[in-house]
Amino acid sequence: MTPQIAPDDILSVQNISKRFDVSEPFLNRLIERRPRRILTAVNDISFDVPRGKTFAVVGESGCGKSTVARLLMGLHAPSAGAIRFEGTDITHLPPGNPPALRRRMQMIFQDPYASLNPRWRVRDIIGEPLKNFGICKTRADVTREVEKLLSQVGLNPADAKKFPHEFSGGQRQRLSIARALTTRPELLICDEPTSALDVSVQSQILNLMKDLQDEFNMSYIFISHDLAVVWYMADVLAVMYLGKIVEVGPKEQIFENPQHPYTRLLMETVPKLTVGGTERTPVAGEVPNPISPPPGCAFHPRCPLANDICRGAAPELNLRSGGQKSACHAADEGRLPPWLRLAAE
């Protein structure tokens, strides 16, 4: 169970789930005698985001990372559970409402080519929240604020007149960041902000985000599938698999001594240039279909340590000696072999 909300946590998520009804239309189901199909994107997860820190979420595509971000922002309504922002219940509040509260949390989206309206000028894109949240009253105020934000994210204030298509991917992501910064948020939710960018540009954006975090004392929820990026950004790390958090704890602990076979599998996939000719366990299998997840531990079909208990009952998130929590029967029973790989350097 999640402990009581500590005062130094900015966001607390308790047992939220999101189920999507992906059934075919009623008539098709009736005629073809198909059952309803429910996709469980997020399955009963809890976590706390410490203030001023970066809480990173990693996992493969389709594990529910982005759904978590959308639940937090109110873009999806959770099917169960509660979300508290500084003690205020925001579980069922619509996005952008109430303004006084929602302006304190903002989001950066994954695709810098889709997250900016192609028909709007930069001035209007960044000015939108300024007007919506009543931060700037006059046109001149908006222009001044937009130009200030543009220089804060490393763009030219004269870019305010341009359209999004006149920018590169990295510059567009800077625009996205500038837009999120308009309300001076305390919590920034970043949904794979660098996954659509070139590696060289990624590091620029990540450095910018780190600098801004220090400057404005923001807390980040950083969603990614890239362990190198997560290693650089995270303070606390959660590993998701098929809608569940399988391991969560301080970043160093998880990288140095992962206590879940899935985390280990993820670590194995990071190529190491320094160690030559190490033997790698090939990644077995695919992520199962979240519409009909396997019984017991969702990871058991791919897990080398799976036994009958794993196939029968879902494991609980239990505290390990290193300080992280992981949901694994093998770790509970002490069957988890010692971790031999070195931490990512």
Binding site: R70, M73, G74, L75, P95, G96, N97, P99, R102, R103, Q106, M107, F109, Q110, D111, A114, S115, L116, N117, P118, R119, W120, E128, P129, N132, F133, S176, R179
Partner: protein, 307 residues
């Protein structure tokens, strides 16, 4: 005002403008259309005769052939009809009505179609289902039949005394209410694509309301194809009006459109007075052809895949 010249230059320098200047068909169609619009707008002042002013008509001049034929008179360049009305002047005035009906019905259809398409695509669910089933029903009949039906219902609802004056409005309504479906379907499709994009989600998290999202975010992004459909539909609307008038349910003979002129002339076709029907028909054909060619060019010019 200071940036008017650079703005003018950027319009001249744009892709569309370049494509327009390169396309001889587009330039010629545009010129023909421009000439026809000007004729229609200024018809009362430039037409040689007011064909609806009985004082100007001289029955001795009735049934005159065009000026180049034997017995023709240069005062009546394209001849006169059985009432001694100058065919050229009638065409000029008729074009006025035809273009008025065409434009008004296209605007009506576009506004209605864009609004309904936007609502259906954005709200989805029951609103969308109802709108699209209505659209399906309308699409399953030939448009002229639907226009006839709406026309009949509207006329039936009006007292007979008001029918002549309201003929114009009835025509615009019946053609507009027939043609909105195309706009609605196109806009609905693009709206459904746009509303799933991240910039809409971003706008929602930034506190932009639903109406503002529809009007300010989605609308500008779905309007491109509407312009093309509207251009092509203008030709269709003029033609539908002509057909309805030809069938006798459009403009009355006291306010003839091109279609009415063709209908009137049609009665005399076999008595050898061919000019009364051929010239309005030719004017109609040229008008619709020019609009369609311009619409075709616009469709290709705005299609990034064909650039």
């Amino acid at each position: 005002m200071s940036n008017f010249v650079p703005m003018l230059y950027s319009v001249w320098d744009s892709d569309i403008s370049y494509s327009f200047r390169k396309s001889r068909v587009a330039v010629i169609s545009a010129l023909v259309l421009l000439a026809m619009f000007l004729t229609a707008i200024f018809a009362p002042s430039i037409a040689p005769q007011n064909p609806f002013d009985i004082a100007e008509l001289d029955l001795f001049d009735s049934e005159l052939p065009p000026f180049w034929a034997e017995g023709g008179n240069t005062a009546y360049l394209l001849g006169t009809d059985t009432q001694a009305r100058d065919v050229l002047s009638s065409i000029m005035h008729g074009m006025r009505i035809s273009l008025l009906v065409g434009f008004a019905s296209v605007i009506l259809a576009a506004v209605m179609g864009v609004t309904l398409g936007l609502l259906g695509g954005f709200l989805g669910g029951i609103v969308d289902a109802v709108l699209m089933r209505i659209a399906d029903v309308l699409l399953s009949f030939p448009p002229i039949l639907v226009a006839l039906l709406i026309n009949g219902v509207l006329r039936g609802a009006l007292p007979s005394s008001a029918q002549a004056e309201s003929a114009l409005i009835v025509l615009i309504l019946s053609i507009g209410l027939t043609n909105w479906v195309q706009y609605a379907r196109t806009v609905r499709g693009s709206t459904m694509v746009e509303r799933r994009k991240e910039y809409i989600e971003a706008a929602r998290t930034l506190g932009t309301g639903k109406v503002a999202i529809m009007m300010k975010h989605i609308l500008p992004n779905v309007l491109g194809p509407v312009l093309v459909i509207a251009t092509i539909n203008l030709g269709m609307a003029v033609l539908t009006e002509a057909t309805l008038s030809f069938l006798g349910v459009g403009m009355p003979p006291t306010q003839p459109s091109l279609g009415t002129l063709i209908q009137i002339g049609n009665e005399f076709l076999f008595s050898g007075i061919w000019w009364v029907v051929v010239f309005p028909a030719a004017a109609l054909a040229i008008l619709v052809l020019a609009v369609n060619l311009l619409g075709d060019w616009l469709r290709d010019a705005l299609n990034p895949k064909l650039r």
